[in-house]
Symmetry: C2
Subunit: 133 residues, 2 copies
């Protein structure tokens, strides 16, 4: 799922963000899918550019959340980042210490039910702790 630069550059520009090498590297990683903590992002992006600092990773991820490209949730004492897409379930597998996506269970009706109660939903996090096969 390797993205070309143009796609990422256009995405960043569409959010009125300056396009820096660091942002391209970080954004490409997150767009490839999965869930990442800051440390995991830092480790990965340092393989491409060892001089990237942890502040920049924090800044960039928080910026990408703010403009709506990413979403974040808290678990295991840390913040996790992933691409923003339809609501889905994140299963934290306590045996393997991984996070598993469950995208084929529809959650949109939760938003609907909450709207009926007068809640204007901004984000839904379903975080399950369990043992995975």
């Amino acid at each position: 799922m390797e993205r070309n630069n143009d796609e990422i550059v256009n995405l960043l520009r569409s959010k009125k963000l300056k396009v820096t090498p660091q942002r391209i590297i970080i954004t490409r990683l997150l767009l490839s899918g999965g869930h990442y903590t800051i440390d995991q992002v830092l480790n990965e992006v340092k393989k491409v550019d060892p001089s990237i600092s942890i502040s920049t990773v924090y800044n960039t991820l928080n910026t990408l959340v703010k403009v709506g490209i990413l979403r974040s949730f808290e678990a295991e004492g840390k913040t996790w980042y992933e691409i923003r897409r339809e609501f889905h379930i994140n299963v934290i597998c306590e045996n393997s210490r991984h996070i598993m996506d469950i995208a084929d269970i529809d959650l949109s009706w939760i938003e609907e039910e909450l709207r009926k109660k007068g809640v204007k939903v901004k984000d839904i996090n379903v975080i399950v702790h369990g043992d995975c096969p």
Copy 2:
């Protein structure tokens, strides 16, 4: 919803925990309902016993989670504690900065669906960010 001591003492004893004044105070507070951060618990219990320490609050809440009386979830950079009961939705109201319980939306089928996929569910957290009426 004031509980008498016997009820709390029996609950703690049933989990093989030593019954201390601090544990009684903290457990009574949590059993009265609602969601609490450590700081909120500390503030409340200090009204009853000003010498209670923050370590004891941490120790007690984590112990109560471990034995299954409480459950915890992470949001807003903190850990929140509440009584363990049926799965429900916690709405974080960004306007009022409160947490609202939605208990009348059934979530048990999420557990069922995940079981079909081979996931042994231990806990389900549904955390919604939104604006409340």
